[in-house]
């Protein structure tokens, strides 16, 4: 199979970690008889340097012509990065929001998994996490406050800022379906998170999710208020299978959940549209402080590449191979510094990529 993959190396540690993911993908290609054809795309700081803006329309078009896009991380250091040449209001957020909307990537999947080998890094007490946890956050990514109308105006000498939060039935229905579809392949439980005791958009959310649930009689649905969910993630993360929520709540809860695992450097993500197309990126940030030092953890990006094989190319066997290779390297005791613990073998970004590729 020929895989046409757009590659956005991005800012900070992005180039280093993406390089390792490409190495692993190439090895998969070699072993399973596929060809990866990469198309380099500029976004974030690299695009500002060349084009003056974080994402050009041409880049969007080139991305659309790919089967999928693999991305490092976008974001920079306030003082030194090229994107701080731009006004804050021109950054949001350095191409990320534009690419999500332009490619209609409405379904953002963020797994939060406690790896048995990395339990030590989990901030929660062991009695809470015993047996591990494994949840999938399904965040709506192209609606809500992120894409509502906004403005700042002066009224009688007083500045006033507006943002608006809108959802229509169809937007809710399509993400809810994705949530239930994923739940069917997992433990068949959906926790839909909203603030239905306050927001009209949440009341509509709840209504539509209930309608969609009727088509999935095997899936257990529960509703949870967002403030309660923020508590439950800390109190008892094991209770969750699929968390289904809107854009802003998903932003907050997925980051909280990722920190609850204690190993952000391990967490992949996928952003999908209605077709097989998707954008795949690590959950963590661009970590400008450690960029270029060869110590960043490439595993989240490598696992994002596995998600890409699974969701955009239906190559489940190949995706499994990557996931098993990662497990094996962890079992062998190799760790980058962010997940290092006593008695383990500390290695750098490139070695980690080599070891994982070696197990394919």
């Amino acid at each position: 199979m020929n895989l046409k993959i757009g590659v956005i190396k991005g800012d900070g540690i992005g180039p280093e970690i993406v390089t390792e993911a490409m190495k692993v993908l190439d090895q998969v290609g070699e072993v399973y008889g596929h060809t990866c054809e990469y198309e380099q795309l500029l976004m974030g700081g690299a695009s500002i340097d060349v084009h003056g803006i974080p994402l050009t329309d041409e880049t969007v078009e080139t991305a659309k012509a790919c089967d999928a896009v693999l991305m490092g991380s976008i974001g920079g250091d306030a003082k030194t990065s090229p994107w701080y040449k731009l006004e804050p209001s021109k950054r949001p957020e350095a191409g990320l929001l534009k690419i999500r909307k332009a490619l209609n990537l409405f379904a953002n999947l963020r797994p939060a998994v406690l790896y048995d080998e990395l339990k030590g890094a989990c901030p929660l007490k062991e009695e809470i996490t015993e047996g591990g946890f494994d949840m999938m956050i399904m965040r709506e990514l192209t609606g809500g406050l992120y894409f509502g109308e906004r403005k700042t105006v002066e009224e009688d000498g007083v500045l006033k800022a507006y943002d608006s939060l809108t959802y229509n039935e169809n937007e809710i229905r399509r993400i809810a379906k994705r949530g239930f579809d994923i739940a069917m392949k997992r433990r068949k439980k959906v926790t839909s998170v909203d603030k239905a005791n306050v927001l009209d958009s949440s009341r509509l959310w709840r209504k539509v999710v209930e309608e969609v649930a009727e088509d999935y009689p095997e899936v257990a649905l529960e509703h949870m208020l967002v403030d309660n969910c923020a508590m439950q993630l800390v109190r008892d993360p094991k209770q969750f299978d699929v968390i289904l929520t809107e854009n802003m709540f998903g932003d907050i809860l997925s980051d909280e959940a990722s920190m609850v695992t204690g190993s952000i450097g391990m967490l992949a993500s996928a952003s999908l549209n209605e077709t097989k197309f998707g954008l795949y990126e690590p959950s963590g940030g661009s970590a400008p402080d450690i960029a270029g030092k060869g110590i960043a953890n490439p595993i989240a990006t490598i696992l994002s590449a596995a998600m890409m094989l699974r969701f955009s190319f239906d190559l489940d066997k190949e995706a499994d191979a990557i996931e098993q290779a990662v497990s094996q390297v962890l079992k062998d005791g190799y760790r980058t510094i962010d997940i290092m613990s006593e008695g383990k073998k500390q290695i750098g970004t490139v070695e980690m990529g080599d070891l994982i590729a070696g197990y394919i």
Copy 2:
């Protein structure tokens, strides 16, 4: 001094826990020579039962005529409570939003403290919480998404729901000042939380907070994005002193922070307006499942009464006396079931109130 205190017993465990707080207040009155005059106010289920709505205008007026209001908890069990006679859209949320707005309670203070004696209940590993933590969340309570315009309309047969998030300079300035004022009495650090990489309201928030900060050169100000803050509360809660944030973010983060302490039954809150007036209530919910069993923890409500003495009546000595009495009872090993641990003495709601009153 004559203290004219409105009392909203509320739903679920509300009446039980408020009764104990009143017992402690009366004891303070006796020892320090004050008279507490209570005015019973109906809100939530009790008001729906009598008036058909969760909060009448008359009750609001009576509340205004008090110096402060002490409240139990509002909220019910979906199946059995009187307020489920009401349409969901008529509940928001059973009087709470109306009373906040009507009394202009824009400054919501929620302490999140890890008590040394209750470390066992904290979900975080000990290496993270060593030495304890003590933060104050200052949440804006009368603006933002909670009080924006909202509507649900049908357009071409498709339902569409809108909520709006608005803040003006003045609203931001007054809450920011409160945040810095509180920080001056604490460890002199303010973490202002927003989503300035996406929202116009957050960009205005950040600008105004920076302006206010100029008047407080001794206070260290940092800005943090809300998704990052949700992570940091789990990763390293000790870093926080005062967290200053808008209404919806404050709702989510204060609940997360309260769960991070592991002892919600201990957490008080205050909602203040521009005068000395305030509404004081426990952070936890109405817990309908344990209502009437005499096992609910009254400490959060008792500590809310202490906040009332401090903020509405400037009775610092009396407030200290309550806080010390609570500490002493904990040191003596008495616990309600929610904070019970091995080797401690389990007692009920009334006994807890008696013991604390006994130490005044």
